[in-house]
């Protein structure tokens, strides 16, 4: 199995995501540069957190046009697994690979804190058996306020596309939505950071469980091995 972590100019959680998979789960992990036009053999593409291209425009608005995103789109359309964390979630929304948009936190301020999250029943593609009902993950963002129109929200609910909700909404997200998947169930995005919840001294080890929840339907062996 190979995990690929994208690197945009301005990515700053690329090392964190790398370590979540490499040292946290012990999986072969590599970086893919934003100027690359192909992904090579890979089993999961991780779009990490940070400020891709500075995010001086809308978050992710420039990153979606970078060369590597063409390859990611192609990969996702063929059913490849993609996980966007924080800025990665914003980029996937901008690229149209996930529904909805992320706007400025309702406080108009950046928030760095640890949040309690309620795990949603998102169907078999997001294996919640490994997760339990409640998890704790850190957040760190200024634009994590999830928005979608009424019709879109109904579709999310009808298709069980919401994967995580905040217990105490830190950013004004619609219905406390913290993470979603696409309809097909191969593209995931979340504002909270599983890549800040896997070391002994982190607020929890739930980041590992989140990573397994994404991977375990395709790779059931890894749950048994490390759970």
């Amino acid at each position: 199995m190979t995990i690929s972590v994208l690197q945009f100019p301005g990515s700053n959680c690329d090392q964190d995501a790398f370590q979540l998979f490499a040292s946290g789960l012990g999986l072969p992990t590599r970086f893919v540069w934003h100027k690359d036009t192909t992904l090579g053999e890979t089993d999961l593409v991780v779009v990490p957190g940070g400020f891709a291209y500075g995010d001086y425009l809308r978050c992710g608005a420039i990153a979606r046009f970078s060369p590597v995103m063409g390859a990611v789109r192609e990969y996702a359309e063929k059913g490849g697994l993609v996980l966007g964390i924080c800025n990665g979630f914003q980029i996937l929304c901008e690229a149209g690979l996930l529904p909805g948009a992320l706007i400025r936190n309702s406080s108009l301020e950046y928030r760095c804190m640890t949040c309690d999250l309620v795990v949603q029943d998102a169907g078999p593609v997001f294996n919640t058996r490994t997760l339990g009902k409640r998890i704790r993950l850190p957040i760190g963002h200024g634009e994590g306020n999830y928005r979608i129109d009424e019709a879109g929200k109904h579709r999310l609910e009808a298709n069980r596309q919401i994967i995580l909700r905040y217990l105490d909404n830190p950013n004004g997200s619609l219905d406390g939505i913290a993470g979603v998947r696409n309809e097909e169930g191969n593209v995931f995005g979340m504002m909270p950071h599983p890549d800040r919840a896997f070391e002994r001294f982190h607020p929890s080890a739930d980041g590992l469980a989140v990573a397994r929840a994404v991977l375990s339907v395709r790779f059931p062996g890894m749950v048994r091995k490390s759970a």
Binding site: P9, G10, C13, G54, D55, S106, S107, M113, G140, G142
Partner: protein, 772 residues
């Protein structure tokens, strides 16, 4: 030696004769202009005058403080071959470097951006963070953490609210984007900083010994590169601006405040570290901070004992028509000067092309000892590099003990007719103290900073010190970092106040389980030309130096910020101290929060008995007076050694030092952790002439620890053996109360009453109407 006049500058505006008025406008004294003529052998051009004015400003030259700073210890006596050697000393380079073993080292330094933040808080604070990060990666180190130390006026004024909001947002904007966690800090609110806030930012980086890079231009003919952002007209003359008092006209200095681009900085970090990792490619490197291109060229030439020639036409420019004066004095951010090994130009250009950044070949290293600047084919400046650096003027200023000290140091509660507290007064005082912004939770501040990026933060902001796990090659190390300085003590007794800043910082580290290693300081003072201010400066430096020597904690770098005055007067002297400590094992990491019901609460160091300079005196009685608390370095060391020993023995469940607000504030803060625990304390056994001083006095060298009941005797025994007073004063409970028995009667508070005010005070003050 007389020199031939330089040819006319291509921009006629720059061909004005150098009048006394122009000299004065550049912040230079008439005798300094004479010295410039001696160095040059004739009149300077206007470009040259500008260059001298920034290089001879206090910010760059330390002309008023250099003799004082020589008193700091710069070596660690207890260093071994494997740990603690100072590899790059304070003042040698952009930041000091100290060995942390296994071939690894850390570089760290604190720097101020006070004046820019007073004028334009967001950009001022943001570029302060950017500047200190560049000081660290220019040494070859990967920046891994940030801290900051902030001072504002009282939070009841609209100006202070605007400044606080802007400064915090600016730090967050820059630090969060660049991806370096802000893991610790301190914030004080006091009238003396009204209109002149202090913004001191620290960065720490890690590197292998063989990665250390220097700001030296060596090797005749080696190409000089300019990398990073283009040069604009922003920040013109910022270094001389930072060396003036703030006045009502200061806002017209706005162009002297730079604008930061953290995205550019992030690219620059990655590109520079990548370039420096290529063996032998980089000969020298220096960031363009204060005085930009001027400072980086003459300092690298001076350190290298060489010379440097640059051609301004090759400098990337953001706007057309800039003249040589503007280009040389611009303080545009996110720029670096790199000296590359000759013949390897392509390699550096390839690295920067990968990151889509400018890398312009702007000049070459010479052997003339001179800094020569050309523009449009004409020499516009030709100056001996050493005249700008090593041979800058140095002054021994006059010092005079301020008259107010006679009155304040003679003050006593009895002499001042201060009635002691009765139980009702004590009951009312604690919630008031806890909700004063200086003592209250700083969550409103640190939740805006990304303090977890790089996934190494072990103890997040809100405890005595930030703790970070460093990955150094295949090994992990844990470090703690804390900033401290109570300006009120320094106002009342500069020497003692500075020592307190140091010992309190050390105590914070020890409470976190760390052994202090090295220090960086930021000396924030008023105008040194005033003898009373210079006295404060001299005494504070002496106090810091004494404490550093006593504890064998060398100074590895720092910054001086003078002229911190507003029309209301000078700030309280504020020698901010930041110390880095090492934690031997992850299991020694200790937090301030009580964890176990039934745990015993032990007061180490004896009963507090002094009121001078306390927050209590200020808040309840409206007084900033008295003698600063006593400092006994030997007793402090005994306390800290004992505490560290008990932490390592696994007996300390939590530890918190007594500081602003004293014993009951300390006890309350121990209960404000993630759980809901209370405490029942009995202070009747303590020898306490005054109740107010016992509960709220700020005597130094005190720590509260909680220990499991089975370990209490062992801790008491160890304290006895070490000669440290240890009083068992109560226990942690499951009740939602803090109850305290005193000789004058019982006191009780519900924890929610205490906690609500403490937690929400700053947030309430900063609420924006209509925003949830």
């Amino acid at each position: 030696m007389k020199r031939a006049a330089l040819p006319p500058n291509p921009d006629p505006v720059l061909n004005q004769p150098i009048t006394p008025e122009l000299v004065r406008k550049h912040g230079l004294l008439p005798e300094e202009a004479d010295q410039i003529r001696l160095h040059l052998g004739g009149d300077p051009t206007l470009t040259e005058l500008g260059i001298f004015s920034v290089m001879w400003s206090e910010h760059c030259s330390y002309k008023n403080t250099r003799p004082l700073l020589k008193g700091f210890p710069t070596e660690k006596r207890g260093a071994t071959e494997h740990f603690g050697r100072v590899l790059v000393k304070a003042g040698e380079e952009n930041a000091g470097i100290i060995d942390v073993g296994d071939g690894w080292a850390i570089a760290f330094k604190i720097e101020s951006h006070n004046h820019p933040s007073a004028i334009e808080p967001f950009e001022g604070a943001a570029t302060g963070v950017g500047g200190i990060i560049r000081d660290i990666f220019t040494m070859g180190a990967r920046p891994v953490l940030l801290t900051n130390s902030l001072r504002f006026g009282e939070l009841d004024s609209p100006l202070t609210k605007r400044l606080l909001r802007g400064v915090v947002a600016g730090i967050a904007h820059y630090g969060n984007c660049v991806g370096v966690p802000t893991v610790a800090g301190d914030v004080y609110f006091d009238r003396s900083y009204e209109g002149n806030p202090l913004v001191n930012a620290l960065c720490l980086g890690t590197l292998r010994h063989d990665q250390i890079r220097r700001g030296k231009a060596t090797g005749l003919g080696n190409p000089v590169y300019y990398v990073g952002a283009a040069t604009g007209r922003d920040g013109l003359g910022g270094a001389s601006f930072a060396s003036k008092e703030l006045s009502a006209e200061s806002s017209s200095d706005r162009p002297a405040v730079q604008k930061g681009d953290p995205f550019m900085e992030k690219l620059l970090i990655e590109a520079c570290l990548e370039m420096m990792a290529v063996p032998g490619l980089v000969v020298g490197i220096q960031d363009m901070g204060a005085a930009g291109l001027t400072c980086s060229t003459c300092e690298t030439a001076s350190r290298g004992g060489s010379g440097i020639e640059i051609e301004l036409d090759r400098v990337p420019q953001r706007e057309p028509g800039m003249n040589s004066y503007e280009i040389m004095l611009s303080e545009s951010q996110e720029r670096m000067l790199v000296i590359v090994a000759r013949g390897r130009e392509r390699e550096i250009e390839e690295v920067f092309a990968k990151w889509d950044l400018h890398a312009s070949h702007v000049g070459a290293v010479t052997d003339t000892g001179r800094m020569v600047v050309r523009h449009h084919g004409t020499v516009v400046a030709d100056i001996p590099a050493s005249a700008l650096t090593d041979n800058a003027p140095v002054y021994q200023r006059e010092a005079r003990r301020p008259a107010y000290l006679d009155a304040t140091s003679a003050w006593t509660p009895e002499g001042g007719g201060l009635a002691d507290l009765d139980p009702a007064g004590a009951r009312a005082a604690l919630p008031r103290l806890l909700s004063h912004p200086t003592i209250a939770s700083k969550k409103w501040v640190y939740r805006q900073y990304d303090h977890m990026v790089r996934h190494g933060t072990v103890v997040v902001p809100g405890s005595d010190a930030g703790v970070v796990r460093l990955r150094l090659g295949s090994s992990e190390k844990f470090i703690a970092i804390s900033n401290d300085c109570n300006g009120r003590y320094c106002y009342l007794n500069p020497r003692r106040g500075a020592m307190i800043a140091m010992v309190e910082c050390l105590r914070n580290l020890v409470c976190s389980g760390a052994t202090p290693l090295a220090m960086t300081d930021n000396l924030n003072f008023g105008n040194p030309y005033k003898p009373e201010i210079f006295y404060q400066l001299r005494e504070c430096v002496a106090g810091l130096a004494e404490a550093c020597r006593f504890f064998d904690v060398p100074v590895v770098g720092g910054n001086v910020s003078l002229y911190n005055e507003s029309p209301e007067g000078a700030i309280d002297p504020t020698p901010t101290v930041s110390v880095v400590g090492f934690i031997e094992s992850e299991s020694h990491v200790t937090r301030q929060f009580a964890r176990d019901p039934g745990a015993r609460v032990i007061l180490l160091g004896g009963a507090p008995a002094e009121l001078g300079g306390s927050q209590f005196l200020g808040l309840v009685h409206g007084l900033k007076t008295g003698e600063a608390p006593a400092v006994d370095l030997a007793a402090e060391k005994r306390l800290q050694d004992l505490l560290l020993g008990q932490i390592r023995a696994g007996r300390v469940r939590s530890a918190h030092d007594l500081s602003e607000g004293g014993l009951l504030v300390c006890a309350s803060e121990m209960l404000f952790g993630p759980g809901t625990l209370g405490a029942a304390l009995d202070l009747c056994g303590l020898d306490a002439p005054r109740l107010d001083a016992l509960l709220f006095g700020e005597s130094q060298g005190r720590v509260l620890v909680t220990v499991l009941p089975g370990d209490a005797d062992a801790v008491a025994g160890a304290a006895r053996a070490a000669g440290v007073p240890a009083d068992a004063i109560g226990a942690i409970t499951r009740e939602d109360t803090l109850s305290v028995r005193t000789a004058r009667g019982p006191l009780e508070w519900s924890l929610s009453e205490l906690r609500n005010g403490w937690e929400s005070s700053i947030e309430d003050a900063m609420k924006r109407p209509g925003i949830g």
